[in-house]
Every structure is written in structure tokens, then in C-alpha cells.
Homo-oligomer: 211 residues x 2
């Protein structure tokens, strides 16, 4: 019997194209094509839609791949998730793996590798390329002090990614300029930043701000 595969990706063309690719594989059949996590989770209410493996994009509207994977892990722990992404940064990949993804395929994967990955996920429960394995090992040694930012700090950072001065940001946030400077100083220390340019780049690289 063929293993069931679902594909979740907001880019319709890729969704259909990858679906087509998978349906050519001998051991697999496509049971579900969805444009985002929300739609996918809804479809799982019909048992015949429940797949063995999900090929999941990370950046999606409504419900992204990381959240979807986390919810899936709770509600359907047997369903394996293979992340399928087009250039992501290290932190995002790690988040996805922590959320419970059993595999991670990069953009430049051949279809034979995709088939191999699906087979391995079914048989061994996971599939990781060398690149991802190294990243995982690296993440263990790296100081995982997981700097966390407060709600107000994140709001401030978003404002800092504009041409406003701190005084203007203070007005926008109904706070004293001195408080804003306080946010800035503590953020700089936590994140080892030297100036506002560094802060803007941090915000962009970590998805706090979309340029």
C-alpha cells in the first residue's frame, strides 16, 4: 500500500508542481494539497485526509509552518513533518526542527533526494542532510541563552526600523524618551549591538520587521 503524503505551501504553482512530483513516486500518493496551515488542519477532520508524511513550507499566511507543525505534533503525533523551504536562516530552521519536523529539505534538492527523504522518514522516522546535521550539532555547542524580548521591547524595535527619532518613537508609544532610551540600552546589551543599524539588521534577520 502506498504511503499518504500531504503538501502544504502557499505558492500554488509549487504546491501543484511538488504534488505532481510526489504522485510519480512509486511508494507514495498525494492525499492533500493545502495553501496554509489553517486549511491543512481543517482538512484533517476527515480521516482519509490524514497523511503519513507532510511536506511543509515554512512561510505561509494565516498559520505558518512552525506553528502548524507544533499543533500537528500535539494532535497527530504520528504524522511526520518534512520542512521544505526556500532559503531560510539558521534560527528559523532550528525553530522548525524544535517544533517537531523530522526532516528538512533545502531548495536545491533533486527529486531523487526528495523520494529518498520520504522513504527514510517513513522507515527510520527522520531524514537529515549533512548540512542540517551540522547545524543541529552546532546549535548544541552554541550558547543557547535564548535572549528573550519583552512585548514593549519588540514594539519599540519595530518603530526603531523607521526614520523616526527616539523622541518621535516615545510619542508614538506614549512613553518618556528616557524610557525608550532605556529599552534601547537594555536591548543593545542583551543582543550585543553597537548601534541602531545593528538593531535594524537584527530585527529584519529575525523576522521582527519586514523591510
Amino acid at each position: 500500500m502506498k504511503h499518504k503524503v500531504a503538501v502544504v505551501d502557499d505558492h500554488t504553482l509549487l504546491l501543484e508542481a511538488i504534488g505532481g512530483l510526489v504522485s510519480d513516486f512509486e511508494n507514495f500518493e498525494v492525499v492533500c494539497l493545502c495553501k496554509n496551515g489553517q486549511e491543512f488542519l481543517n482538512k484533517l477532520k476527515i480521516p482519509s485526509n490524514i497523511p503519513d508524511v507532510v511536506l511543509m513550507d515554512i512561510n505561509m499566511p494565516l498559520l505558518d509552518g512552525i506553528e502548524t507543525t507544533a499543533i500537528l505534533k500535539e494532535q497527530f503525533p504520528k504524522v511526520k513533518v518534512v520542512a521544505l523551504s526556500v532559503e531560510e536562516n539558521e534560527k528559523t530552521i532550528l525553530k522548525m526542527l524544535r517544533a517537531g519536523a523530522k526532516g528538512y529539505l533545502m531548495k536545491d534538492t533533486k527529486k531523487e533526494i526528495l523520494e529518498e527523504a520520504l522513504n527514510q522518514v517513513i522507515e527510520k522516522g527522520y531524514y537529515h542532510t549533512n548540512t542540517i546535521s551540522k547545524l543541529l550539532i552546532g546549535s548544541l555547542t552554541k550558547d543557547e541563552t535564548e535572549v528573550e524580548l519583552k512585548e514593549r521591547e519588540v514594539a519599540f524595535i519595530k518603530h526603531a526600523c523607521t526614520e523616526m527619532t527616539y523622541k518621535e518613537i516615545a510619542e508614538k508609544m506614549f512613553l518618556s524618551p528616557k524610557t525608550i532610551e532605556g529599552y534601547r540600552d537594555s536591548i543593545y546589551e542583551k543582543l550585543h549591538l553597537k548601534n541602531r543599524i545593528g538593531l535594524v539588521l537584527y530585527a529584519i534577520r529575525n523576522g521582527l520587521f519586514e523591510p
Copy 2:
């Protein structure tokens, strides 16, 4: 007789998947799958590889879609290019169209639309969605004063997208800090920027700097 299609995309999986999709279309056959513009242009030396239509990604290593399209337009003006991209900014789309692309497909295209686009490009010579048409019209009314940046200014901007001070940038570029300030001032005026944050955002949004 079937029309010949080439697909050029650095993401192997997408390349193969889209190739698979196209080869299912009735009027089309895939003659060429390439990972970048360089490889594609090389393959055209063999006449049987010359396609009627090229589905071309924009962001590629070695030779990107815009340059490839421009070269193709010179050497093989009969070959139609349809850009196929995953989230690009307005300016990039316009550059691609100016380079000679006859169509532009966005990420969320259904395969029926892809087939329709290919057919129309063959028959009418072009295919544009409403979104692109509006963008084209908008680009005509918009003040196309095409602010152009000098070579040195672009180099400076790239350095400005780091935590370096202007003095440090000056050292890196073997120039006086005052010259750097001069670059900055003239750029701010040309682009109507208020401060360095604005410059960084401009650089990112216009592809001068990859965050």
C-alpha cells in the same frame, strides 16, 4: 507539433517539479532544464535546445534572470521569456520586463494559468495578469526620475548597512571621513532620506544589500 519550453531555476526541486508540470501540458514539451543563466546560455549552442519559451527565475547565482533575459533578447530575439518568481519587489519586476520578459507569473499561480500563459505567449507574444498590467501602468505615471547612484556611492551604501561608523567606513574605502559624509549627504538628498536607518531600508528594499 509541440512548442519547446526551457525552465531556468536554481532551486533544483522547483526546476524539476515545474518541468514535470509543463511536460504534462498538451501543446508543450520540455527541452532544457538549467540551474542558472550561464548554464542556459551555454546550452543554446546546440540548436535543438533552443526553446520557444523560457520560464525563468530571477534570483539565480552566476547570471541572474534579468541579465540572462537581456542577453537572450540580443542573441535570440525570437525566444520569449516568462519570468517566474517567488515574491519580488516592484522595481525588480519592472527591471525584468524592461529587460524583455514577455510575461510575469507570481508565486500563487495555478497550473491552468501557467498553461494559459504559455499558450498566450506563443499566440499573442505576451501574457500579463491584472496585477502586472496595473504595475506597468503605474510605472508610467510615477515620476521615473530614475535616481542613479554612482559606483562609489553604492559601495558606501553597502558599508553603511553595517554597525561601522562613518569614520570606519572611510578607512575601509581609503577615503577621508569628510568624503564619506559628502556621499551620505548627496544620497540623502537624491533619495529623500532623513537618516541612516532610511538608507539601510532603501538599500535592502532595492537589492543593494542582502540582510
